[in-house]
């Protein structure tokens, strides 16, 4: 399995801006699909996933500022409090930027365990803010943390293949 090996050895071309922006927009689109009931609880947070991917794979291009902006868009889309997603994504991006060297040394299985921690903090912060503001918890919300983590490996493989395809095309 070539994909399970650490991703550092090969030199990769810089990612195009179009790719980054498109991936964030697609993530917003996936989040906005009409999920309901249990599916809504199980819905992975695609925006958080994509932001974490870029924060760890292109930390000089995508960082805390852009994640915060994506969080503001997510706040408007979800009609949550202004800054609620933004705060969670800021912490997520910080985790990604700080840990990006360590993550790149790991293979996908080890990465997944690390990523679970980052997502757990992100979800906990979001839930905590909600609990502070409105006074009750929805424990099923935290399920999304697990599904997001499970999507980390497929997403990494897919994005890597897409970047590879672009290099071969040129």
């Amino acid at each position: 399995m070539p994909y399970l090996s650490p991703s550092t050895p090969e030199l990769q071309r810089p990612v195009s801006n179009t790719f980054i922006v498109t991936s964030i927009l697609v993530a917003l689109f996936l989040n906005a699909l009409p999920w309901e009931g249990l599916w809504l609880a199980l819905r992975p947070d695609f925006v958080a996933l994509v932001m974490l991917y870029w924060c760890t794979h292109a930390p000089l291009r995508v960082g805390i500022g852009l994640s915060w902006a994506a969080g503001m868009l997510a706040d408007v889309a979800d009609s949550s409090l202004f800054g609620q997603h933004a705060l969670a994504y800021t912490l997520l991006a910080f985790g990604g930027v700080v840990l990006h060297r360590r993550l790149q040394m790991f293979d996908l299985r080890e990465q997944t365990t690390q990523v679970l921690g980052i997502f757990a903090v992100t979800y906990a912060v979001y839930a905590l803010v909600h609990w502070q503001v409105s006074g009750y918890m929805m424990w099923s919300y935290l399920l999304g943390c697990l599904t997001s983590t499970l999507l980390w490996a497929p997403l990494s493989i897919m994005f890597r293949a897409m970047r590879q395809a672009r290099v071969e095309r040129e």
């Binding site: 202004f82 800054g83 933004a86």
Partner: protein, 302 residues
């Protein structure tokens, strides 16, 4: 760089920690302002113009599926549905004629008693775009907004009963908070005996609860609650909920009463937004207690 000690080859701007602190503080500030004062609605509207196309696009798969389903409806099904609707229509028409005669009678009685007439209100049909996008909230997004003169505070109902209230209006869409949202209150009356009370949303389930009802109060399973119209927000006489469970525990001063909403929010896509509700007569000015005349400037802070 003037100081060789801090010379940097690659200037990458502020460190991640500094950025983290900056954006965390910014987010906390925004949350505080938004939760406390709601100053940011115009910024939200502006940003919603950016997100709206994505949201519109995201409702497309569902719509397409719906349309495809409609396309493949069999004639047998249509005939069956049509006969069912005709039956329902006959039934409703009989009820309606009864209602009309009752209304006339009611108006005459009100005339005799010199009470103000109950006036009509108009309703605007809207379609649900999303049901509860945030797992924490009981909210809906519908397809009419400022462009269709939807206003904050309007009452929303379907053919069965009250659904909720408009709580936020965007240029093309508006947000409806369901009556099952945590602590959302509706003043109601029990049809059977006219007992007035207030029904609250439970928040974590799709139920409602009647709080602060003494154990001895006359409530039975299956009682229907209708709006009492006392607050001036909800018009009187619209069905709201049905009592499903009563726990009378002598250890507590109040009975625990759960109700289920009558409106079928998850069953249909169309809702009605009520408008042109008759305004209540102005409240009489509150009597000032002696010596409170100096506080007139702090009195009207609602």
């Amino acid at each position: 760089m003037a100081n060789p000690q801090t010379f940097q080859f690659f200037n990458r701007g502020p460190s991640p920690a500094a950025r983290l602190v900056f954006f965390v503080v910014l987010s906390l500030l925004l949350m505080f302002v938004d939760a406390r004062y709601r100053y940011l609605e115009s910024a939200r509207n502006a940003l919603s113009m950016l997100v709206a196309p994505i949201q519109q696009l995201a409702t497309m798969p569902g719509k397409l599926l719906h349309q495809a389903g409609e396309f493949f409806v069999t004639q047998h099904g249509l005939v069956e549905e049509n006969s069912k609707l005709l039956q329902q229509h006959g039934h409703d028409a009989a009820q309606l004629s009864l209602l009309q005669s009752m209304q006339q009678e009611n108006q005459q009685l009100r005339n005799l008693l010199a009470l103000p007439q109950r006036s009509e209100f108009s309703a605007q049909p809207v379609e649900i775009l999303y049901a509860e996008r945030d797992i924490f909230k009981r909210k809906l997004l519908v397809n009419k907004g400022e462009d269709a003169q939807v206003k904050i505070g309007r009452v929303v109902m379907d053919d069965m009963g009250i659904v909720g209230q408009v709580t936020r209006v965007y240029p093309r869409t508006s947000e409806i908070t369901l009556i099952t949202e945590k602590d959302h209150a509706v003043p109601v009356q029990i049809v059977r005996n006219g007992l007035r009370t207030i029904v609250f949303g439970a928040g974590d389930t799709s139920q409602l609860s009647l709080r602060y009802m003494p154990i001895s109060s006359d409530i039975q399973n299956g009682d229907v609650l209708v709006t009492s119209g006392i607050d001036g927000v909800y018009p009187p006489g619209i069905p709201v909920a049905k009592v499903v469970k009563i726990e009378r525990d002598a250890a507590y001063p109040f009975a625990r009463i759960s109700c289920l909403p009558l409106a079928g929010v998850d069953r249909n896509r169309q809702l009605l937004i009520l408008s042109d509700l008759p305004p209540l007569p102005a409240k009489p000015p509150e009597e000032l207690s002696p010596g409170a005349g100096m506080d007139a400037k702090t009195g009207g802070d609602d």
